[in-house]
Symmetry: C2
Subunit: 212 residues, 2 copies
DNA sequence: GTCTATAAGGAGATAGAC
DNA sequence: GTCTATCTCCTTATAGAC
């Protein structure tokens, strides 16, 4: 293998590992499978990483950081908040259907972290990224729809992520797109109730009280 | 080891395997760990099961069948449907907090099935049990609260399970009980909207339209 | 029927040749 | 710096003694 900086090797191995995990699951991501995917000899692995766990840790860190990128571009301008949420959910769902293995991999990595003492801080970091991304999408959507959230946007974001996680698991289990669509309809309805017109006259009109 | 019928051995090994999986994860459930937990010599394993995969398959089947048992006893009589749902969610959540490893194990088994060709029918079976259990609880709750569901109860059940899955994952990641409580409040609010008083005069009164 | 002992292979990690 | 060859341990599964 040609000369390569350690940093480049680490990056290449992480990408290769991610491909292997998507294809074969966390269980299949052995050091041998990873170096084969990266086209490197086995010894290069421990030249770049101290251990397999170190790579997994870096991998989750990378994935969690880069995952919150491509969101919020799907939001239709000029739409009501209910439609915006529904469209955003659909965009996510289309991505899930196109690449189910990726979402499966995210779940597996979460559970792997939960079972590995040294990685116990990662699940929270992973979900924090989800929540932050969701909050940012919800803020953009609210602004475009000229509404505001009655709850802190971070809480609405958590609810949105709850829907998405539950939706994803159910679809992975039964691959029923129509049932998923109904779940998304309900999620959009329920979340839209948490928004109100931006003028503050409006709150006298809302009659769906949210108990806290 | 004393005489034991093959059926008894299989049952004992499955229970031992479940304990190991809860403690150490699916990854830790090696044949050696399982027989050690069951107090059997290694050879007994393959005397009772053809392979490790056969045991895992039987284990998931058993778990999925027996899991829908202890529900619906928590429903408070004489309560409104919103309160009943909220209480039911709390009962589940208390169980989750008391034994997080059990729920973690259920997720891991789901993902294991998704990654194993021969087990591809199990995820759907697992969720079908969840849905069926949820539907049964929702029916009992509606009856007690003298309301009826505006949607087929199977669909409401799917939404409830969506909430529970999402809620569980988030709590496993960040162990924030207060945030979980807020999610449960929202879930109870949102699902209660799907019920209406049993008298059929009532539907003119509901003003939360559910788009389909 | 039961269990000890072992086969056969895959895993992470490394020594040492180039 | 790089990689081949190997070490050591752990896995599933089985052969064969009792």
């Amino acid at each position: 293998m040609a000369r390569m900086s350690v940093a480049d090797r680490r990056a290449a191995l992480i990408l290769a590992a991610l491909r292997v995990i998507e294809r074969d699951g966390v269980h299949g991501a052995t050091t041998r499978a990873i170096v084969a995917e990266a086209g490197m000899p086995l010894a290069s692995f421990h030249y770049a990483f101290l251990s397999r766990d170190e790579l997994i840790r870096e991998l989750i860190r990378t994935v969690v950081e880069t995952e919150g990128q491509a969101a919020s571009e799907t939001l239709s301008e000029q739409a009501g908040i209910r439609t915006s949420i529904r469209d955003g959910l659909q965009a996510y769902f289309d991505l899930l259907v196109a690449e189910p293995n990726r979402e499966q991999a995210m779940f597996e990595l979460l559970h792997y972290s939960l079972r590995t003492e040294e990685l116990h801080d990662l699940p929270k970091a992973q979900y924090s990224t989800y929540w932050k991304t969701a909050a940012s999408v919800l803020e953009v959507g609210a602004k475009a729809a000229r509404v505001q959230w009655k709850l802190p946007v971070a809480e609405v974001a958590r609810l949105l992520v709850t829907f998405i996680s539950g939706l994803t698991l159910a679809w992975l289990a039964d691959r029923d797109a129509e049932a998923a669509a109904r779940t998304m309809d309900f999620a959009a309805d329920s979340l839209a109730v948490l928004a109100e017109p931006i003028s503050d006259l409006a709150d006298a009109k809302t009659n769906q009280s949210i108990e806290r």
